[in-house]
Symmetry: C2
Subunit: 303 residues, 2 copies
């Protein structure tokens, strides 16, 4: 297949698994890479030593000729140590997000690492190209996790980014089925990053209760909240209802920060507290009804 | 072309022009129909006598073999009179929105009228099919005008509706370019309804200042506001800033209703008050940079 994303990463299918906190450890990443896509370890929920463990476990699980990457949110408190682990362990591919692409791109590329940055707007995609990244992920409003303040959807974002940059473009947000996979390419993408469907599959390290709740979520079952802090798409539950109520009465950023507290995503996604946890998932959860393996997903998407 | 939407309406291309308040009178509707699509007169901003005038003017302007329709928001205060005009004037096609498809579908169909209903959720699409409509328009979060509370985007909504209903499906919300036109079909749609691009073209009756402001709007230049009343996508201006501020401090529905007042959409879209008017447009405005005619748009989409 003459595809720039496949060539860039040396993979069979232009399918990247999003590096999601509490979901994508070495099991999920290696399963995706072994199926012909690109698996990413999500460093956002890992201390440096834990990341080192996941990198070596992923390497051991990889079939010959397969590769992998690490997703790094640049706002991470231990970012310098995380970057140190990545360079020491000679990770071949890094996806950065939640920060400026100028900060680490040159440093990583000088060490032979392929760098991709995640954006939610065209202006940021242009900055990424100027910073010298190898590819851009453009993520629409419907995506799970932290999203852009502009609220631009995948349908509007991908054609706009395609027009503005010449480097390879990966679409994210709402890509889950064969139909949306094809639509992403029609919009101008050369690859897709899939989060939600992989977060809910068997190899994901998320809690089974979280996965069951999210599969077949009703439309409107997630909301973009906490826009004053950093916008995040959350499943409607007791915690997100409390956030919505606080926002509805005009709560300040400090109040919202106190309400959020620490460790809520771990509590929800990893420990399965469906009432008080911070449950991040994309709108595409509506379309996912069964517990499936990574192999099932690849068979469906590439059939 | 073996396309159910083309067959249903007797048109050449499966392209429908959204029936938008203050934009789509007889000039726009007849130009679209004469280009091979389906033009809709937007009754939402017309008194019954004015609608009658637009219907007869549209008929006079139509080339032989071309058809047209009327879009009717069912919450319209003079709805009974509007329906009377439509049946008296033997309008062949009616698109209904903002209300239950059970209310008027049988009445219109008994009089030989083709009925299409506009929805923003899969559950409502199923209700439309049960009510006997001929086709459904499913409209995503990125669309201009009044949108669903679920905030489901076109990318997530169309595949879900496609799976749930068997009658013809038209995608709306973010469809503006050849790329998004093709993507809508990849998602499972059989036709597209385009609002924003037609609202900003030469034949639209919107004020030139409104059109100029909207063309090339920055990403994030529109917001979904007034969710407590009826959610509507508005261009950022002094009026929408005031609404956003009121919502941010927890204003009640009554306060918001007072702030909105009456006639703001006319003031903004038709009279060109860019500061205090209610300026409804879709996210796709970002991609539209030039003043173009309906013919230009069809040449681009069908080339």
């Amino acid at each position: 297949m003459e595809n720039r994303i496949c060539k860039l990463f040396g993979i069979e299918y232009p399918i990247i698994q999003g590096g999601m906190i509490w979901c994508s450890g070495w099991r999920l990443a290696s399963a995706v890479s072994n199926s012909g896509g690109l698996g990413l370890i999500g460093a956002g929920s890992m201390h440096p030593d834990n990341l080192r463990h996941h990198i070596s476990s992923c390497r051991e699980a990889l079939l010959p000729g397969r590769t992998f990457g690490v997703n790094v949110p640049l706002l991470y408190p231990e970012i310098e140590k995380i970057i140190e682990v990545i360079t020491q362990e000679r990770v071949p591919i890094v996806f950065t997000s939640a920060g400026s692409p100028k900060k680490w791109t040159s440093y990583l590329k000088e060490r032979g690492i392929i760098v991709v940055h995640v954006v939610s707007s065209t202006s940021f995609a242009v900055k990424c190209q100027e910073a010298g990244v190898d590819a851009v992920v453009a993520e629409g409003f419907e995506a799970g996790g932290h999203n852009g303040r502009e609220e631009t959807t995948t349908f509007c974002l991908i054609p706009a980014v395609r027009e503005a940059i010449s480097i390879p473009l990966i679409a994210a947000g709402g890509v889950s089925s064969r139909a949306s996979y094809n639509a992403a390419f029609a919009l101008g993408a050369e690859g897709v990053q899939i989060g939600t469907r992989f977060a809910l599959c068997k190899e994901s390290s998320a809690h089974e209760s979280f996965k069951e709740l999210c599969r077949g979520l009703p439309e409107g079952g997630t909301r973009l909240l906490l826009k004053q802090l950093a916008p995040v798409r959350l499943v409607q539950n007791d915690f997100s209802d409390a956030v919505a109520q606080a926002e509805g009465r005009g709560a300040s950023a400090e109040e919202l920060s106190d309400l959020l507290g620490k460790g809520r995503a771990k509590k929800g996604i990893f420990e399965g507290d469906l009432s008080q946890g911070e449950l991040e998932i994309g709108q595409a959860a509506t379309m996912i009804r069964h517990a499936e393996s990574v192999t099932d997903i690849f068979n469906d998407l590439t059939r």
